[in-house]
Symmetry: C2
Subunit: 327 residues, 2 copies
């Protein structure tokens, strides 16, 4: 099998030399294991954190070892009861073309009538992040005004659509006219182009003159500060990511932080894996899909060779919707 | 009556000229009103916000009008049923020596066997802030490790004592050896002297090597950042105040903010008045007092003339315990 390893721990923005493609022999199957040929790989902003040698909610990638990440593959050999050859499965042995895994580490794809790669996006980790972050962490309700940053990304674009399907007013931010048009086409009531030159705090004030009830944060920095400036009383912020500081470990400067006191704002960090065993997600998302309330967009890089390139493009705004690598 | 008015809106730290002592005639009593001679006035950090002309959870002080604030006084004339002359009451017509108020705006003091001025401190707004902030907003539980900033202040010193009475480990911060010794005498397990030259983040790391479950914030800034750096998974922060930015509206720079994601930290701003009608506070505090678990300390300025001086000393670390003006 071929796999991408971390050759060096990135300093700031990763560079090509931080990654190395290696070949490894895979072992024969033990009882209870399956052999998988990967068809789709996921690259996600959170992976940047695993490239640092620091304790976090997921352990750091080990230097010289294949990296991990979401992947969809086909079972080509099986010694596991109940997983037949030909089954499409999702698993975490990404960044490679083939894997041998115990059956407990793979999930056969549910039959919801969507393409397999959707289980890396709206019907996978990014979708669950959007769904549970918006509805459970932020407790967003019909009638709420919701601000979501990085609204053209895999998570943000799903937040926009779930919020609209649930009867909320939605303001999204994205970088550049093309992405902003796309976010608007998803149903957003207003879109802020953070590359327009206008400050996010001013733009949000115009888009939400009565303030916001919910902020779904994928960015941090000036977006979080703008949300603090325009938070209504009892606003809830679900903090999903801060791509602003993933590569560049600079301090975050917040001018409007103290407003959280008078407005009783709640800021809650969360990790989607805390929610993964909860019911409702697939049923609710399948219903929205059937009702035409979910549009899917993917940015696809072809070939294992291009995996680092796809990953790096996440940080330069290179994707609309879910960033994927097709093998 | 004599009253302190706001003569000018302060720019940054207030100066003497921002305040003016005026004389006003008080009207004869209408039905349902009482005349009060004030005995004790409260000065509190939150009043700084009311000196700005900005919308907040309490309206701004009006220029040229007597300011408001907590006060304890004696009823000297009454046309209100059920409030006899001689009754000691608490009310919000502070910064003055005398007031005429409708009975609905005054609360006769409960009979808990404490000095009247205690109802401006541990048995009043600062005590309720400590109690509800710690136990309800931060959901602090026996066994938790609690970090509280400005632990020598009226609120912070009460947080320390409630937390110890409830079986928590407590780390307080205060400025200078004398205050730190006092906080330690209240039962704190460790005390950080933020004037020592050591960074708060390093000092907290030494005081709480396993991290903190709860942070009770009266300061903001470097204290909040240190709490983020050392938060355990599922830590809860109750944000009561940010004296760091009340006079100097500088941005807050947070190096460790993104850690709130992986650690699922909850940051909740709160206002004590949201809790004022809840039961339990007086009963629980009276029990702690009886059990010898509450020590009270006051810093007292004598005379209405010195009210602005007492207020300004809050921002230079001039008080141990509750800052009061005795008339």
């Amino acid at each position: 099998m071929k796999a991408w390893t971390l050759a060096a721990r990135p300093k700031g923005t990763p560079v090509d030399g931080d990654f190395a493609l290696v070949e490894r022999d895979l072992p024969a199957l033990n009882e209870g294991e399956v052999r998988i040929v990967n068809r789709w790989l996921s690259v996600d902003p959170y992976m940047r954190g695993r490239m640092n040698d620091t304790k976090s909610y997921v352990p750091p990638f080990q230097l010289g070892e294949p990296m991990q990440g979401g992947a969809i593959g086909e079972v080509v050999e099986s010694r596991a009861d109940g997983i037949a050859v030909g089954t499409m499965v999702s698993h975490m042995a990404g960044w490679r073309d083939e894997a041998v895994l115990p059956a407990a580490h793979v999930q056969p794809l549910p039959d919801l009538g969507v393409d397999p790669q959707a289980y890396l996006g709206q019907f996978g980790m990014p979708g669950m992040t959007a769904y549970y972050g918006l509805l459970q962490v932020a407790e967003a309700k019909p009638g709420d005004t919701v601000f979501v940053s990085a609204a053209a990304g895999a998570v943000g674009s799903t937040v926009v659509q779930i919020a609209k399907a649930k009867g909320m007013t939605v303001i999204g931010s994205a970088g550049g006219a093309e992405k902003c048009d796309w976010v608007r086409s998803l149903g957003a009531d207003a879109v802020i182009d953070y590359k327009s030159g206008q400050s996010v705090v001013d733009a949000l004030g115009e888009a939400a003159p009565d303030g916001i009830d919910v902020y779904f944060d994928n960015v941090g920095g000036d977006h979080l500060d703008a949300a603090l400036a325009h938070a209504k009383p009892n606003a809830r912020f679900a903090i999903c990511g801060m791509i602003d500081v993933y590569n560049d470990a600079k301090p975050t400067s917040l001018t409007y932080l103290a407003r959280l006191i008078g407005n009783r704002v709640r800021i809650q960090g969360f990790i989607v894996s805390d929610f993964k065993d909860q019911p409702g997600f697939y049923r609710d998302m399948a219903g929205m899909l059937k009702d035409g309330q979910l549009k899917r967009e993917e940015t696809v890089f072809e070939g294992l060779d291009r995996t680092p390139e796809a990953f790096l493009a996440l940080f330069t705004g290179g994707n609309k919707g879910k960033m994927l690598v097709k093998l």
